[in-house]
């Protein structure tokens, strides 16, 4: 332990070796900063392309294309008429400009509006008839379609570009009176239900993208759960965009009759490409008295590369109606993909005592832009809504929450609680919140909380000090931030979602 006199005599001269050390250290600092950004450069693992013989509509959009799609699907006249009505409306509409995202004008005439794997005349009747290449594609995506291989308790409808290629567990579900099939099939086999409900929540002229979808929608899932039935398994649709320059326009309709319950999951991926692709979906949910619908999404469309090249433009209209008393609709979404996300899953709370929920995690990295949120419209008495939105932004991305809570005159005792938190992973990204509140009933109570924080250098260091690398630290912190939403997801999906946020999962659930 020498004495202090000696120490004071030491010269504070900096040797060239020390200078080098300093430079080395400075370099290291840069690398650590970069780790944060590197998170955004993780490989998009789902970016492969399936080389399969496809049938296309020629690029462009006009009445002939609408007719072509309808013809391909052998639709009845009423369906074609509805499409044409939508198309004519769409032509008169303009793209919304209030969204907090920027992109060059979309050339709607350069896209294709229909692409389908070539198959026997009527499409596959059973899995044995499905092209093995397609089965392999889904296997590769982690969605095996052979029933024995599927996670027990999850039925899958697999949509490939414009068509549904397989729906599993149909027979088993039919025993309960549950209909789970592709939209095209529903138009043929359950025309009364489709006529009654299609467009009843999102009308064909609701907005620009909904009108476009109504004109050219290709496939999607149809779910009908009859009175008093609790769906015994999770239903899911896996959407895959495969073809180039092709938009995907799926339409999903879920009807839960009195006292019914269903949990529905939706996942999506697309190949990596340099050009942008359009995805404009519509989802409609209807819950009658005492019915419950739980709708979960893990959206992982190709986000584009780190310079913002390519990626999916995701313009989606999702809306549910709690039509009956005591009904409940819950939206849970984990949005990690797409170059642009424009999406506001909403609930119309019409039935007295009905409940609407929206749980969301939106992650934007690199050049991604998301403008997402919800609308809760309270019409009935004692209606309740909860909004929990978590935005995570890194790179030069822009992440906006936009939400509307509207309490109408007759909504006595309506309650809303909204919580919007943003987490920034750097200095060059942006997080924004646009909460709109309209209250026309004085007995109602609306609460809004919002926070914005930066991922803490101290948090990362704390993790580092316990042996955890910076990259893992970031995903642990991000996952912790999003936990409130993840716990609303069904187990299998929670696992998937956490993986998407980059965490090593071993044992973290349960």
């Amino acid at each position: 332990m020498g004495n202090i006199l000696e120490r004071d005599q030491q010269q504070a001269e900096i040797s060239s070796e020390e200078v080098e050390k300093k430079i080395h250290k400075a370099k290291k600092k840069v690398t650590e900063k970069d780790t944060l950004e590197a998170l955004g450069n993780r490989e998009y693992k789902w970016g492969f392309f399936t080389d399969i013989e496809q049938e296309y509509a020629s690029p462009g959009l006009n009445e002939d294309v609408v007719r072509f799609i309808s013809m391909k699907k052998k639709e009845p006249e009423w369906m074609l008429e509805w499409r044409l009505k939508a198309f004519r409306n769409w032509q008169k509409m303009t793209e919304p400009t209030w969204v907090n995202v920027e992109y060059p004008p979309i050339d709607y005439q350069s896209q294709r509006y229909y692409a389908a794997p070539k198959s026997k005349e009527d499409g596959p009747k059973s899995l044995d008839e499905v092209d093995p290449e397609l089965l392999r594609t889904y296997e590769k995506l982690g969605i095996p379609l052979e029933e024995q291989k599927i996670l027990s308790g999850v039925a899958v409808d697999a949509v490939f570009d414009s068509v549904s290629v397989a729906t599993t567990f149909k027979e088993k579900l039919a025993e309960y009176g549950i209909i789970f099939c592709s939209m095209s099939e529903a138009v043929h086999n359950h025309p009364d239900l489709v006529k009654k409900y299609l467009g009843s929540i999102v009308p064909y002229n609701d907005n620009y993208f909904a009108a476009l979808n109504s004109a050219v929608f290709s496939d999607g899932s149809f779910v009908y759960v009859p009175k008093g039935v609790r769906c015994p398994m999770e239903l899911s649709t896996y959407f895959r965009i495969n073809s180039e320059n092709t938009g995907q326009f799926e339409r999903t309709l879920i009807v839960a009759e009195e006292g019914a319950y269903v949990s529905y999951l939706e996942g999506c991926t697309a190949p990596k490409r340099d050009t942008h692709q359009l995805h404009a979906a519509v989802v409609e949910l209807i819950a009658l008295d005492d019915a419950q619908i739980k709708y979960s999404t893990v959206q992982n469309w190709y986000p584009g590369d780190k310079d913002g090249k390519g990626g999916i433009y995701n313009f989606v209209t999702k809306r549910g109606k709690c039509a009956g008393v005591n009904s409940k609709i819950s939206w849970t979404q984990v949005e990690t993909g797409s170059a642009i996300t424009w999406k506001y899953p909403s609930v119309i709370l019409q039935g007295d005592n009905s409940v609407g929920e929206f749980y969301s995690v939106a992650l934007t990295m690199n050049h991604q832009q998301a403008d997402t949120g919800t609308k809760m419209v309270h019409l009935g008495k004692n209606t309740k809504s909860t909004i929990v939105a978590k935005g995570i932004a890194g790179g030069v991305s822009q992440n906006s929450y936009r939400g509307l809570v509207k309490v109408m005159k007759n909504a006595e005792n309506a309650r809303n609680f909204s919580q919007c938190d943003s987490l920034l992973l750097g200095d060059r990204c942006g997080a924004h919140t646009f909460p709109y509140i309209e209250v026309k009933n004085t007995s109602s109570q609306v609460e809004h909380e919002a926070t914005t924080s930066k991922i803490g250098e101290d948090q990362i260091f704390y993790c580092n000090q316990r042996g955890i690398s910076t990259e893992d630290a970031v995903s642990i912190i991000v996952n912790g931030f999003a936990k409130e939403v993840f716990k609303e997801l069904p187990m299998e999906f929670a696992v998937e979602a956490q993986k998407l946020l980059g965490v090593s999962l071993e044992g973290s659930v349960g």
């Binding site: 332990m1 202090i4 006199l5 004071d8 005599q9 030491q10 250290k25 704390y462 912190i477 973290s508």
Partner: protein, 259 residues
Amino acid sequence: MLEIKNLHVEVEGTEILKGVNLNIKAGEVHAIMGPNGSGKSTLAQVISGRDVYDVTNGEISYLGKDLLDMEPDERAREGVFMAFQYPVEIPGVTNSYFLKTGLNEIRKHHGLETLDAADFLKFIKEKAKLLDIEPDMLNRSVNEGFSGGEKKRNEILQMAVLEPKLAIMDETDSGLDIDALRIVADGVNRLRNEDRAIIIVTHYQRLLNYIVPDYIHILLNGKIVKSGDKQLAFELEEKGYDQIKADYSSIKTKLEETV
């Protein structure tokens, strides 16, 4: 085990450590005392690799390696542990998941098998019991809503789980009640062995009654101005820092006169 030579450290252009020398062998317990702002936490953080501090001169060797050349997570995996003076909250991440992740990283680094959730739970529950930590604290978010004392105990739990070679405890005793102090001290004493070195940063002699150090150093204005055995703490308690400051400045003046 740890050799610090002429360590100079700056934060945002202000020099905080002004030539620290310290030599610690395996098996030893060293206490570092010193007035507020003298640089104790800075020293602890520089050893653990916090990058807001710039090392402008000097070197630190740890088990024969250049410590300053290692990333903080690398240091942790090589056995450097710091119990934080102000433990950090990580919302939404359970204490046990956090600790399991760290432990498994360290185990992987040493070529050991990772523990699964069940094994880990058994392991950590035993450790928690020894430190009188309620099991439900393991399922709460890391440090979130923990009381001051709980946070400190949690740091020692982490230390017990990660079994470091070099443990630095930065004011772990402040905020602990008398019983907790004894529990924590017992926990630390259990970890004392000939392969492990411990640095205790404290303001109070009281802790050193329980964990008896081999050496005590006094850090003043960025320099170690006095080293001694455990008696030094009593002396300090009695006289305060003023005496030491006075002694030190007179020596310094003499020195400057002779140069």
